[in-house]
C-alpha cells in the first residue's frame, strides 16, 4: 500500500521536465584543473599525466611535469598555488607526458640552499633539482657524445638506485619507493608522509588498464607488485574511505578502496591469462576468450592502450607455471 501511494504521489507531484544534477564546473581556460588532495598536497590534471604539488615554507615540490607542450600552462597553474620557488621536480618515470615539462619547471625554480644544482648543457643558472630513479636517467640519456633519447634539460639531476630514497622538506618526510619493472623499470611511488598522499605515477590509473612498457622494462608481475606495494604504504580511513590518498598517473584522486578494486582487477586478469598460458593457448585464442570483458567499459577505452594491447602485454610477460587450474 505504501508503495502504491508513494508511486501515486510521484505521479502527481514529481519531476519538472529536464531536471538534472547541476553540471561539474568547467576547468580553467587552459584546460588544466587544480584540486586539493589533502595536507599540503594538490593535484593538477590536464597537462599530460597528473601533476602533484606540495606547497610549504621552503618552496614547492612538484611530482611529474606533464608534457612539454603544456609546461607554460602548468607553470601558470602552479603559480596560482604559490609563488614560492620550485625546489624539486620528481619524476615517477621516464615518459614524456610526465617529464616533458622538466626543463621549464626546473628553469623556473631554484635549488634549496647549498644544493647548487647545475646541469651540463643547459647553462649555469640556478635550477630546481630533478630527482628520479637512476634507470629514468639511463633511459633518457646516452653514453657520452651520443644523441640522447630526451633533451638534456629534461634529464634528472639527482638519482637513486636503492629501493627507497628519503628526504625531508616543508615539514614532512618524502619517500620515493622504487617499483621495479612495473609500468617501466624506473617507476617511483612518491609518498608525502605527513600529508598522507602518494603519487603513484602510471603504476595506477583510474582510466585505463595498466600500461606495460615492456620495451623499457615494464611487466605485469611488476605492476601487480607495485600495486601491492602501494596498498602496503596506504592506510585507509574509517570504513576504508579516505586515509591515505593516492593520485594515479591518470584519472581521479583515489583512496585505498579504489586501489583495491584496481589491484583485484589486474590480478584476476593476470590469473585468467596465466591459466590460458598454462593450457598452451595462443595469443589469438586468449584474446578470443575476452579475459578483460567485464572491465573493458571502465578501463578499455583509453586512447593508445586498448584491452587487446593489455592482454597481449600480459600474455607475453607470463610463462607456464605448471598444471592449469
Amino acid at each position: 500500500m505504501f508503495f502504491v501511494s508513494f508511486v501515486a504521489i510521484v505521479f502527481v507531484f514529481s519531476v519538472a521536465p529536464g531536471a538534472q544534477a547541476p553540471r561539474a564546473p568547467n576547468p580553467a581556460p587552459s584546460g588544466l584543473e587544480t584540486l586539493p588532495v589533502q595536507g599540503n598536497v594538490s593535484m593538477i590534471a590536464g597537462a599530460g599525466g597528473n601533476v602533484v604539488v606540495q606547497v610549504g615554507a621552503q618552496g614547492l615540490v612538484v611530482v611529474d611535469s606533464g608534457t612539454a607542450a603544456r609546461s607554460d600552462d602548468l607553470l601558470a597553474a602552479i603559480r596560482k598555488l604559490s609563488n614560492r620557488p620550485i625546489r624539486y621536480v620528481i619524476n615517477t618515470h621516464m615518459h614524456p607526458d610526465h617529464t616533458g615539462g622538466n626543463d621549464r619547471l626546473a628553469a623556473a625554480g631554484q635549488p634549496n640552499s647549498g644544493r647548487g644544482v647545475s646541469q651540463v648543457g643547459v647553462g649555469t643558472a640556478p635550477r630546481a633539482e630533478i630527482i628520479a630513479h637512476d634507470l629514468v636517467l639511463q633511459r633518457m640519456s646516452a653514453p657520452g657524445g651520443s644523441e640522447t633519447p630526451a633533451p638534456v634539460g629534461l634529464h634528472p639531476t639527482a638519482t637513486y638506485s636503492l629501493p627507497v630514497k628519503e628526504f625531508f622538506t616543508n615539514g614532512e618526510g618524502i619517500q620515493m619507493v622504487h617499483a621495479s619493472n612495473a609500468h617501466t623499470d624506473g617507476d617511483s611511488l612518491v609518498f608525502f608522509r605527513r600529508s598522507d598522499v602518494i603519487a603513484a605515477g602510471d603504476v595506477y590509473s583510474t582510466v585505463s588498464y595498466p600500461v606495460i612498457d615492456a620495451a623499457h622494462g615494464g611487466s605485469i608481475t611488476g605492476v601487480i607488485a607495485g600495486l601491492n606495494e602501494l596498498l602496503a604504504l596506504a592506510i585507509p580511513g574509517e570504513k576504508t574511505e579516505g586515509g591515505t590518498m593516492i593520485v594515479p598517473g591518470h584519472g581521479r584522486i583515489s583512496d585505498e578502496a579504489d586501489l583495491v578494486e584496481y589491484r583485484d582487477m589486474v590480478t584476476i586478469i593476470r590469473d585468467r591469462v596465466q591459466d590460458m598460458v598454462n593450457k598452451k593457448m595462443t595469443l589469438d585464442q586468449v584474446k578470443a576468450r575476452k579475459p578483460t570483458m567485464e572491465y573493458d567499459g571502465e578501463y578499455g577505452r583509453a586512447a593508445g592502450w586498448s584491452a587487446d594491447q593489455f592482454v597481449e602485454a600480459v600474455y607475453k610477460g607470463l610463462k607456464p607455471t605448471g598444471a592449469a587450474r
Partner: protein, 306 residues
C-alpha cells in the same frame, strides 16, 4: 514456499521496474512548493525482499536485475572469500544499496543561520556509520577528477513534497551483495516521500557499464520516536583483521566457466537457470511465459570453492 518466493520476486521485480519507470516517465507535473519534514529517526521495515536483505542472497541469484553480460561475468567470477581480504573487511555499502541494510537513519538539516533556509539534509546511517549530505543550495557536482566515496556526492531538490536527489561520485560497489557489481560511473536518482510515519525511498540506478536498463526499487522506513544513542554505535569503528592467512596480494575469484555454484540457487528453489542469470528482459511480464517453457534446474553436487 521457496519456489513461490523466488517466482514472486521475479514478478515483483517486473512490477517494481514497470511502475517505477512509469513514475519517472509520467511525472512531469509542475513542481509544488510544499515541502515535507523528514527529520527524525527512521528504521527499516524489511517487508520488501526480506530473504535477500536478512539472510542474504544466494550465490548466482541475479533474479530481477537488469544486468548486462559484463556484470554477469563479474558476478560469476566473484568469490565471497574476497570479503575476507583485510582491505575489504571494512568497506561500506554504497548509497544505492545501504538503505536496504539493517538500517537506521537519523535525518537532520543544516540551516543557514540568517535566512533559515535549509542548506543541506543530512542522513546519519547506522549501517557502517555513514554520513550522507544532500546539498540543497544549488552547488554543482564535483569534476570527474574528484574522489569517489561510498555515499557519493548528492544534491537535492524539492518537487512538491517529494525530495528528488541526484548522486554521482559513488565508489564501485554492488547492487546485490553476492557480487553483482555497480560501477564507479553509476548515477543514482532517488525520491524520498514521507506519508505519516512512513518514509518511502525510490532508487533508480543508471549504470552505463553494468546495467541494460535502470535498476529501480523502493524501500520503506518507519519513524522511531524511541531511538537510543546505542542504536547507532554498533558500526562506528571497524578494523580489518587477519581472518584467513594468505600472502599479500591474494585475490580469490572463480575463473570463467569454473564457478561451480552458478546453478545451485535455481536448483534449490526449483526454477529454471536462465531467469536467475538476470538481464532486462527477465523483468517484464511477458518473460513469465518463456519461463514456463524452460526446464527446471536439477540439483547437483558442487565442489568447494578454491
Amino acid at each position: 514456499m521457496i519456489v513461490g518466493s523466488a517466482r514472486l520476486r521475479l514478478f515483483q521485480a517486473s512490477a517494481s521496474r514497470t511502475v517505477g519507470t512509469l513514475a519517472v516517465a509520467i511525472a512531469i507535473a509542475a513542481p509544488v512548493s510544499a515541502q515535507s519534514f523528514l527529520n527524525g529517526d527512521w528504521v527499516g521495515i524489511f517487508h520488501e525482499d526480506q530473504p535477500e536483505r536478512g539472510p542474504g542472497p544466494d550465490l548466482a541469484d541475479y533474479l530481477g536485475l537488469p544486468i548486462n553480460a559484463a556484470a554477469r561475468q563479474y558476478a560469476d567470477s566473484w568469490d565471497a572469500s574476497r570479503l575476507t581480504q583485510p582491505e575489504q573487511q571494512c568497506r561500506a555499502h554504497v548509497s544505492p544499496y545501504i538503505y536496504r541494510g539493517p538500517i537506521r537513519v537519523r535525518i537532520t538539516e543544516d540551516v543557514d543561520p540568517v535566512t533559515q533556509n535549509t542548506i543541506a539534509i543530512k542522513h546519519f546511517l547506522s549501517t557502517y556509520a555513514q554520513e550522507r549530505t544532500i546539498w540543497l543550495d544549488g552547488r554543482p557536482h564535483p569534476s570527474d577528477n574528484a574522489p569517489h566515496t561510498w555515499m557519493g556526492f548528492s544534491t537535492g531538490q524539492w518537487q512538491g513534497n517529494v525530495l528528488r536527489v541526484e548522486t554521482t561520485h559513488i565508489k564501485q560497489g554492488w547492487i546485490r551483495r553476492n557480487g553483482v557489481p555497480m560501477s564507479a560511473q553509476a548515477h543514482l536518482t532517488e525520491y524520498f516521500y514521507r506519508h505519516g510515519n512512513i518514509l518511502s525511498v525510490m532508487t533508480m540506478v543508471d549504470d552505463p557499464l553494468f546495467l541494460e536498463e535502470p535498476f529501480v526499487r523502493t524501500t520503506n522506513l518507519q519513524l522511531d520516536s524511541n531511538t537510543t544513542p546505542n542504536a547507532y554505535q554498533a558500526w562506528l569503528v571497524c578494523q580489518g583483521d587477519e581472518e584467513v592467512l594468505h600472502e599479500p596480494g591474494w585475490v580469490p575469484h572463480h575463473l570463467p566457466g569454473e564457478n561451480p555454484f552458478l546453478e545451485e540457487f535455481a536448483a534449490k528453489v526449483g526454477i529454471p537457470v536462465e531467469p536467475t542469470r538476470g538481464g532486462a528482459a527477465t523483468m517484464y511480464p511477458e518473460y513469465a511465459q518463456k519461463v514456463k517453457a524452460m526446464p527446471v534446474a536439477k540439483p547437483r553436487k558442487t565442489p568447494s570453492s578454491r
